[in-house]
């Protein structure tokens, strides 16, 4: 039995699982396209315009411009994380889709890799729907903000990998609520999303930088949409890339351990 660190053998057949999920997505595209659109609209009006009236500006940036990249980053996180927790769990456990697929030339590694790629793709789709809304509000600068799309793929893969680790070890669908409430919600609030990390106690700043993927993704998104390169750019990119590789490798190995007996 390979260890959880061994590099999984993935073939191009993973793309067929990705294609399967894309087909299902487009069958129900009407319900799938609206949430990111509405989400962007709600965040910008309620927090950007509403709360922004009292905040004014942060570091010389109008508040609504300050949170716009956070809205994108949070959407990247939620799209990939929920796709690869609840979505993948339903396909694995209730629909037995993975069992059906591994009876064909695809391996379990191919299946999980396809699911991870699909999770990242969901993030790209969300950001692609949100960008025009943000552009209409005039809170992002073009064309630099188009970098949000490749960033969404990279960040989406990070959260897909993290999510799949939880899916691989969860005893039931209910226990997936723990990472959702204990990790995703705090991350959404304390990752330099709606206020700068610098106003937090030093210890919390270190925690956010050390263990929250969203901290790094928000920082990178903000650099793209303002645009303005931050001092931590190399750290942010390195952290995300390394975490993505680790999460994806571990999640595939944990899934094989769960499903191949």
């Amino acid at each position: 039995m390979p260890s959880i660190w061994s590099f999984p053998r993935i073939t191009r057949r993973a793309g067929k699982v990705w294609q399967r999920n894309l087909d299902v997505f487009f069958k129900t595209w009407k319900v799938n396209f609206f949430p990111p659109f509405i989400e962007a609209l709600l965040y910008l009006t309620a927090i950007g315009l509403g709360i922004g009236t009292y905040v004014g500006a942060i570091d010389g940036v109008p508040y609504i411009d300050y949170i716009a990249p956070a809205v994108l980053a949070i959407s990247v996180m939620n799209s990939a994380f929920f796709e690869c927790t609840y979505g993948s769990y339903v396909r694995m456990y209730y629909q037995k889709s993975f069992d059906a697929i591994i009876a064909t030339p695809l391996s379990i590694e191919d299946v999980i890799a396809g699911e991870l790629l699909w999770g990242a793709t969901r993030s790209v789709i969300s950001v692609t729907i949100m960008l025009p809304v943000l552009a209409v509000f005039g809170v992002i600068s073009l064309p630099f903000s188009l970098l949000a799309m490749p960033l969404a793929f990279l960040g989406g893969l990070t959260f897909a990998g993290l999510a799949m680790c939880f899916t691989a070890i969860t005893p039931s669908i209910e226990t997936l609520n723990y990472p959702s409430f204990l990790l995703i919600t705090p991350m959404m609030l304390f990752s330099g999303t709606f206020f700068p990390l610098s106003i937090l106690p030093a210890i919390l700043q270190y925690v956010a930088l050390a263990i929250f993927p969203l901290t790094h993704l928000v920082a990178l998104m903000r650099m793209a949409t303002l645009p303005s390169a931050g001092a931590l750019l190399p750290l942010n990119i390195a952290w995300i890339v390394v975490a993505t590789i680790i999460f994806c490798i571990i999640s595939i190995n944990l899934m094989r351990r769960r499903l191949i007996v």
Binding site: T11, R20, D23, Q95, A100, A103, P105, S107, I260
Partner: protein
């Protein structure tokens, strides 16, 4: 030409529990080979090892002269699987399920379309082409799974309880299709609890229990060798059993009846009628079920 499946000393353990223990068998091209046995006998585990979805613990296994540990994709490209559990994709229609599955086998779209139409007709589901999976009856789902297993024109078809929970009409349709497939030269391996199904379909079969084979042979040989040609049944009364004991005829008590296995039922039935005060003496041909119960006992399994 080597056999389609060759297994020698094949063993599978799950956390110290032995599911399959040192079994040896081979499946020849063009035959229907059956695995029979009570729940927990190790049938499904054996199927899963052949299907390359569960790695063996020890022993040798070759499918199409390839090793499942080394070339699973090469083997899986050539087999069709009907699993015990219905795992159709509820996000697609009947045709959508087959088309999506065809893609996993790298079948080009135009060719896939053609095969889907043929297969839907083969399992009598053409009218349900665009129906969602949850609108299908149990029998329709099993037929669709059979069609799905055939999408890659498999050289080996593996069926785990193919007709479980089906009505007689649906079972007969599936049996007809399997016989048709064998007539076309396909090799089929199946597991079943239904002994009439095994007797009807299998060229050769094994009866398994506790992870090992009890017997192997053709259905007719197994019945003749292990039970005899016919079974005489009588009411289970003290007079009858005392009489049988006195005559020295071996018998088995089963609830309210006594069974005697024999090759000379006419003569024996006449003797019993004359000598024992039996209120009812009936004879019937021995079946695979008699062999099965004789070998695996009557204790209820989990």
């Amino acid at each position: 030409m080597p056999n389609i499946i060759e297994a020698d000393d094949l063993t599978k353990t799950y956390n110290e529990i032995v599911a399959v223990s040192h079994i040896r068998f081979s499946v020849k091209k063009g035959e229907i080979f059956g695995f029979l046995g009570p729940n927990g006998a190790g049938k499904t585990t054996t199927m899963r090892m052949i299907e390359c979805v569960s790695p063996r613990t020890s022993g040798a296994l070759r499918v199409f002269d390839m090793d499942p540990d080394i070339n699973p994709a090469g083997i899986k490209q050539r087999i069709g699987v009907v699993p015990q559990e219905t795992n159709l994709d509820p996000d697609f229609t009947c045709a959508g399920n087959l088309l999506t599955y065809a893609r996993y086998f790298d079948i080009p779209p135009a060719e896939a379309e053609r095969r889907v139409e043929n297969l839907l007709a083969f399992v009598a589901l053409t009218e349900k082409r665009n129906t969602a999976i949850d609108k299908l009856s149990g029998g329709m789902k099993r037929r669709l799974i059979l069609a799905r297993a055939l999408i890659n024109n498999p050289d080996l078809l593996i069926l785990d309880e193919p007709t479980i929970g089906l009505d007689p009409q649906a079972r007969h349709l599936i049996w007809d299709r399997l016989k048709l497939l064998r007539a076309q030269g396909n090799t089929i391996v199946l597991t079943t609890h239904y002994l009439d199904e095994a007797a009807r379909l299998c060229d050769r079969l094994v009866i398994m229990d506790h992870g090992t084979f009890l017997v192997e042979g053709t259905p007719a040989d197994l019945v003749r060798d292990h039970v005899g040609n016919e079974i005489i049944e009588m009411d289970n009364t003290p007079e009858v059993t005392a009489c049988l004991a006195e005559l020295g005829v071996p018998y088995e008590s089963l609830g309210d009846q006594v069974q005697v296995a024999t090759d000379v039922s006419r003569e024996l039935a006449k003797t019993l009628l004359d000598r024992c005060t039996a209120s009812r003496v009936s004879t019937r041909p021995a079946t695979l079920e008699d062999v099965f119960l004789k070998l695996t006992g009557r204790t209820l399994r989990e």
